[in-house]
Symmetry: C2
Subunit: 611 residues, 2 copies
Amino acid sequence: MINKFSEYFSLVIGAVNCYFCNSFSRGITMYRTHNCGELRISNVGEEVTLSGWVQKVRNKGGMIWVDLRDRYGITQLALEEGVSSFESMETAKKLGREYVISVKGQVIERFSKSNKIQTGDIEIKVSELIILNEALTPPFTIEDETDGGEELRMKYRYLDIRRNPVRANLELRNKVSFETRQYLESQDFLEVETPVLIKSTPEGARDFIVPSRMNPGEFYALPQSPQTFKQLLMVAGMDRYYQIVKCFRDEDLRADRQPEFTQIDCEMSFVSQEDIIQVFEGLTKHLFKSVLNVELPTFPRMSYNDAIRLYGSDKPDLRFDMQFIELNDVAQNQGFKVFDSAELIVGINVKECATYSRKQLDKVTDFVKRPQIGANGLIYVKYNEDGTFKSSVDKFFLPDVLKTWAEKAQAKPGDLLLILAGEAVKTRAQMNELRLHMGNELNLRDANIFKPLWVTDFPLLEWDEETERYHAMHHPFTSPKEEDIEKMDSNPGEVRANAYDLCMNGVELGGGSIRIFNKQLQKRMFDLLGFTEEEAKDQFGFLMNAFEYGAPPHGGLAFGFDRLCAMLGGQDSIRDFIAFPKNNSGRDVMINSPAVIDNKQLDELNISLNL
Amino acid sequence: MINKFSEYFSLVIGAVNCYFCNSFSRGITMYRTHNCGELRISNVGEEVTLSGWVQKVRNKGGMIWVDLRDRYGITQLALEEGVSSFESMETAKKLGREYVISVKGQVIERFSKSNKIQTGDIEIKVSELIILNEALTPPFTIEDETDGGEELRMKYRYLDIRRNPVRANLELRNKVSFETRQYLESQDFLEVETPVLIKSTPEGARDFIVPSRMNPGEFYALPQSPQTFKQLLMVAGMDRYYQIVKCFRDEDLRADRQPEFTQIDCEMSFVSQEDIIQVFEGLTKHLFKSVLNVELPTFPRMSYNDAIRLYGSDKPDLRFDMQFIELNDVAQNQGFKVFDSAELIVGINVKECATYSRKQLDKVTDFVKRPQIGANGLIYVKYNEDGTFKSSVDKFFLPDVLKTWAEKAQAKPGDLLLILAGEAVKTRAQMNELRLHMGNELNLRDANIFKPLWVTDFPLLEWDEETERYHAMHHPFTSPKEEDIEKMDSNPGEVRANAYDLCMNGVELGGGSIRIFNKQLQKRMFDLLGFTEEEAKDQFGFLMNAFEYGAPPHGGLAFGFDRLCAMLGGQDSIRDFIAFPKNNSGRDVMINSPAVIDNKQLDELNISLNL
């Protein structure tokens, strides 16, 4: 019987030892008494059993050392002729990288200790070693710095995750979600699961849809967010709701977007914007403290208008300065046509860079002229150490004029002004790119420094040139600011919303708003967005109905969970904080999904392909 | 400006008070200083602000009492002419059920205290009261016992959730998930999110599918469970994985099944069945202790074969006795044709029921003869208090023979034997139904008593008459028991699996298995299941590939989370433990989903309807 079984295994492992035949392998603790990260000098003398993957083998003839790895660490194994069994020595000689093995032996003090691993004081004097499973040579090295490219790593993601950095990212993600729940539970939030099979709404991004077999011709949609459900939970009196939840958007994927992503989704009743900001600033501080041991001070706040004016972005990176300086009043009407015809002339003060060479300045100019940025050119003013000025517009402006610019920019001798001019919206966007570029160039964007910022007072609406109508900047349920309500008729574009974003280091971590809880105001909002009453009823009727039965004032917020994890992990890309991400075509290259399906399945669903 | 705003609201609230115009309503704590469940005698004298829903109004002319409700409790408000403002009194007179209001006032000791609510010692002497939102009269009463039927409650689920019992269920659910995470984190489990957009596999139940716009003609599928991903995570070295995760099955819905449901999904490496049982028995004990303060003793275990033999079910309800007694040896070959031709004669001992009347016995007989049960008849033997016997087969058997049956059943005078006979599998199933029925009749199935049981040693395979091949009883990755491997060729139907279920009170809470981690054995299993090599490769190729690179021994388990919550809540139906459940047609009657979608959406997805 046993023989029969061992035959199956010997096909694969080709070894004398079969795991199931080994006497030491029976009982509850058959595979291990300890993991590979926990043995210390205090364990010396103990008989232990360890299991894991072979990280490295050094065969010195009579002695063989093996680094054994699992999720918890690495432990060094030592096999020696005469000490280890003959079979174990023979087996050890056959070990390859990533073989799965189990060993029995005694913990001994190491002769030459290592402080690179936590178990570096000890090693295991192995008496028995067996192979649990062989392994083909991995297509890339299972090391911190691997030789595998992105596509290969994704195809063999189950090997990629064995690497410390990827595993550490997933461990961090787990820690972040766990601590998020610890904090929110302490604040009386209830996690409520909202449905995944919901209903398509044309508003916003494209939905993924799911044909219903039981309801032919009808479809579910996957949620882009639980927005309406969380508002219904407030009508339902749940008071404080949260959920760490998968959301779905069928977008053409830009770099670092995923068709399925995770949100920390929250909603609160009987609150003002200030209450929500307090709670989620608290959450953010808790996460940085508990995950990174970083204490964040009180978060600064900035209005949307100020953020755009001073940084050309609604998510300014505050790790470095270079606020925008508007120069129209000191640079126009002096005969330089480029400036005189510009709606906006805006500069940044790049400190201590007056020494930039012609070549360096050309490279910066090339940067802003790239099609993605789209500037026509760049003007520089060097405020030299000796107090003189050198600029690309010396022909048009006297040094005294340049000095007024420098003063406005609070530039000191040694500083460099970089100036763009043109249509205001575009020029601010270009200057934002230039500012971030200079921040990168000057190493001012340290991933281990965290600068949070609340951006508030977002516009309620944005005008869409194409459809010639207003869109909700946040979503159609966002409440206008009380004092701007009167402008909803006269000047809708100027109405500010009770909406707020939390950004950090130039990245949006999350955002939210106080919702409209009054049915009449909601109707007015739908009017502004160009919804007919019928459309509004069809798409949001259940929410508007709910509002008839006693809706409390409420508001909420959602954090991009993948992004938050990447931020805490000090990385730009979210992909390595997701266990099984999809590529830019929405494809999982490991399982090769999406894929064609049986015609029988299509028939059952009452749909056919239309290619 | 303020006037303009109040106009919007006065349209709805028709009140003198507009929330935004009220001076007390400004500032961070504008809506409330306390919730409706927290004020006590020690708060007497404090000025407080409360907000919530109007549960009840009693207008006694000069005095008006209002019960104000929120998630946390109910607080009594008292308004009095001369004490409360004139406007507040006028507003209070207009209040209807479920109006949302905010009040300011002083906490005073109540004249007649109530011990029914936690705030029963105090009430609020209201100085100001404003309406935040009116409410139409709800379509059913917001009380513990409501007059609303199931369909109406589901349509207005946001009102149903305001009811204490439903809210309490959702709070319990939150507690169960929170404590599940506390326990599993303490055991070194990592929560890892697996993808929702995966790939369809024909094995098992029907998948929900999702057309891919970016990959025309191809489809994602929603996971029926994260089975393959969790196994890949073991190959990836994650060692201990869990996830509380939504899963999806496109089944014809039986009562109390949901197309989307939640699992506690787990997997562990380097473990035996015993390790897994220990960990999840520990989890179950932790949940009963932390949620219900119930200490469960060590769980008994029973083999699948014993469970079927003794209870006719793989999830026996152990809250009561009535084990099956097989009577073939003492009842056959004595001339009673029904017995003589039967494969199995099986009885249960219904204690102290020899006094059952003819009418009562007829009702029990009618029960087993219902088409859903399908027995041809029922035989009874009364062991009377005076030691005599009375049975429906007195013609065929002498009292001495009946006495041997009674002895076998350990029946005492006063007990009643109920006996069925026929084909073994069917008769056991019928007797299982009868046993549960008698348990219900005799009130032996108390929802507040919990009897867990591990059922082990499930068959690896089950024969499907229709397709004339074996199906995996658990799933194709379940490992056979080492000692039964040899039977995989000779007698596959007798091979037992390393598979185990946790059941409780006759309900399956969860189950799992040790997986095959050897590629050759996995191949053998696919052979047995009738997969061609190509089919196996196409559907599970990525998993079989992964097994080439060093798979550890592993196994796991999944708990039905909705069912677990219902069990802890002492209820049979899972529906009220899900915030927004679907009905038996898979429809969400609140949002009216699924629904038709735009042709434009279908075109973009390259599919068309085929009705």
